[in-house]
Assembly symmetry: C2
Homo-oligomer: 332 residues x 2
DNA sequence: ATTATTTTTGGAACCGGTTCCTTTAAAGTC
DNA sequence: GACTTTAAAGGAACCGGTTCCAAAAATAAT
């Protein structure tokens, strides 16, 4: 049914090695080149990827393991990876881990088995199991979003993000603040982002900060917001992610609290939706798309055996918008 | 480096055909079975996918072509496809067409070349080129979101969605309405959705409807909303998608128009964000996730040579929320 | 014209599995 | 114990390419 290289060879009256050489730009005489050009075109010949990969022992596929498909960050990163990979003739094989650690591990084994050229992993947390699986895979593994000394990583400057945000809200006069974070098992979002914020707080003498914790889910954030408002009545809630902020915004609306005059709210991420809602959310932009592109570039280098710096830190950018009240004005 | 079936055969002192038989559940004596069990485990043997596929002439990969990665609908559908496929031992290969028709075509050729078992396509519009490419691919192609007689399709009941929405807003007393749609080249969203709405309008005697058009982009929707408000000052704007509605909501906020008392707005889709914003958006829910799962199930059947109904229509559900004012009350 | 050199080609092996067919070993029958 | 039947194992071919090496053809040099 499908024409093979042998079919072409027979039609052209040459050996299949000649056809192969023609296809791969080896030395072929002008007339056989022309003849083969015509025949392959007419027969609509396309080489069989398996046979090629079997011999070459590798594919042009890069496995990308994401925690979920329906998150802004993941989508942006994937888009970046895909764009860059395609430009280089590669392809992205997406593996959805569904936010389960075991499935991330399983994915690595699976992808290695399928002989993808490399793996880009966006984990919530890097465990020894991840390291072991990466080791066993025998192919380059690149971490995005979380860092680890044992692997190539591309991370965001979470500390700086926290610091920027902390300084900004303090500068706006807020002194009674709730920080709604996530589990410290998450090194980047749970720890570093918070540490940066804490550093900013340290630089301030008279500030009360109350630390709370939630999951990444909007529903949980809504509940946490209820608790925060009941327990400590802050002028501002700093949320560890834009999604959490969205949940808090929702709770504020439900309670009839006006943003920012009665409650200020901030996020982290720079999700598109934060500029759609009213008032627009003050947040820190994380360059997900650019990170995806860079990750792909790095991965291509790694698969080509080239050297890449082990740790790359992406800059973040403060996005000052409308959800933080300026308390300095009101005292003037 | 990687252990092959021959290595295993040698270690076990048997022929590789025996090992293959063992691996695939053929008849093997108890003691060789035990020996091979031990050896394959100790050697950490995993079969080479290429070699298998080369012989079998197919993969367990299902190609999925999406218009973009960062859309709620696409993400939900992909999640559904992935979930169902994985449960059946398959895998999803995502191809991002970046909203370009040529790249959809290119993707089909590309995927066919890679011998994916089938293709799930989410096009904005089905052209002859699509049909040709599907034909040439020689593998099952399943359309999601748009229908075509020539291919297996899974569509949403767009007409019904438009009808439901039309009847609902008319029932709420709106009589001066703007419908912000998209290009009629889009059969599902551009035509059928609108037709359903028009049918509802027909059922009403004294209703002024103004039809406008926008792209799918939020930015364009904002602009269109400006024009609508200036030109015809409706009590309600029916938007062809939730994203468009989001843009219109934004414009309303910017103009200081209160929703729904000064302007009612509706969407189509049921995107998560519509229940996060305030007021919550009244819209029609499209079962993207379920459609993804069903698409995967259908595709698995198709690749297995089983029969599947050519056209499947997914039901939609009216989501009555807060963004439509009840004009009947005000007159009481 | 003859020999040396370079360019094109053909043939065969190989990549790592699966499968068909034959041979060998084990078990069952008389 | 000889003979048939069944189960287990081995050998070789095949899937569709790539690549190495040797043979053949074309070109250059003497």
């Amino acid at each position: 049914m499908n024409t093979t290289i042998s079919d072409i060879a027979q039609m052209a009256g040459v050996a299949k090695s000649t056809v192969s050489r023609y296809l791969n730009g080896g030395s072929v005489s002008v007339k056989t080149k022309q003849k083969l050009e015509r025949i392959t075109r007419e027969a609509g010949y396309v080489p069989n990827t398996f046979a090629q990969s079997l011999k070459a022992k590798r594919t042009n596929l890069i496995g990308t393991i994401v925690p979920r498909l329906d998150s802004f960050a993941a989508a942006q990163t994937m888009t970046g990876i895909d764009e860059e990979l395609r430009a280089a003739g590669g392809q992205m094989l997406v593996y959805n881990a569904g936010q389960e650690r075991e499935r991330e591990i399983e994915a690595m084994h699976d992808l290695a088995r399928q002989k993808v050229a490399g793996i880009i992993l966006m984990p919530a947390q890097v465990t020894d199991e991840h390291l072991l699986a990466a080791e066993a895979a025998g192919i380059p593994v690149l971490l995005v979003g979380q860092g680890n000394e044992a692997l190539h990583s591309l991370v965001y400057d979470d500390y700086q993000a926290g610091l920027l945000m902390g300084r900004y809200v303090l500068e706006k006069g807020h002194r009674r603040i709730a920080y709604l974070g996530v589990t410290e098992e998450d090194e980047a979002v749970g720890r570093r982002r918070k540490e940066g914020f804490k550093q900013a707080v340290l630089e301030c003498t008279d500030c009360d900060v109350f630390y709370y914790e939630s999951s990444f889910k909007i529903a949980d954030a809504k509940l946490a917001a209820e608790r925060i408002l009941d327990e400590c009545g802050p002028t501002l809630i700093v949320c560890a992610t834009d999604n959490i902020a969205l949940g808090v915004v929702k709770t504020a609306h439900v309670r009839g609290l006006s943003i920012p005059s009665e409650l200020s709210i901030t996020g982290f991420g720079g999700y598109e939706v934060t500029s759609i809602i009213h008032p627009e959310l003050t947040t820190v932009r994380f360059p997900y798309f650019e990170a995806g592109k860079l990750a792909a570039r790095h991965m291509l280098k790694l698969t080509a055996g080239e050297d890449v710096e082990r740790l790359t830190v992406m800059d973040v950018e403060m996005l000052v918008r409308e959800s933080v009240d300026n308390l300095n004005n009101s005292s003037v």
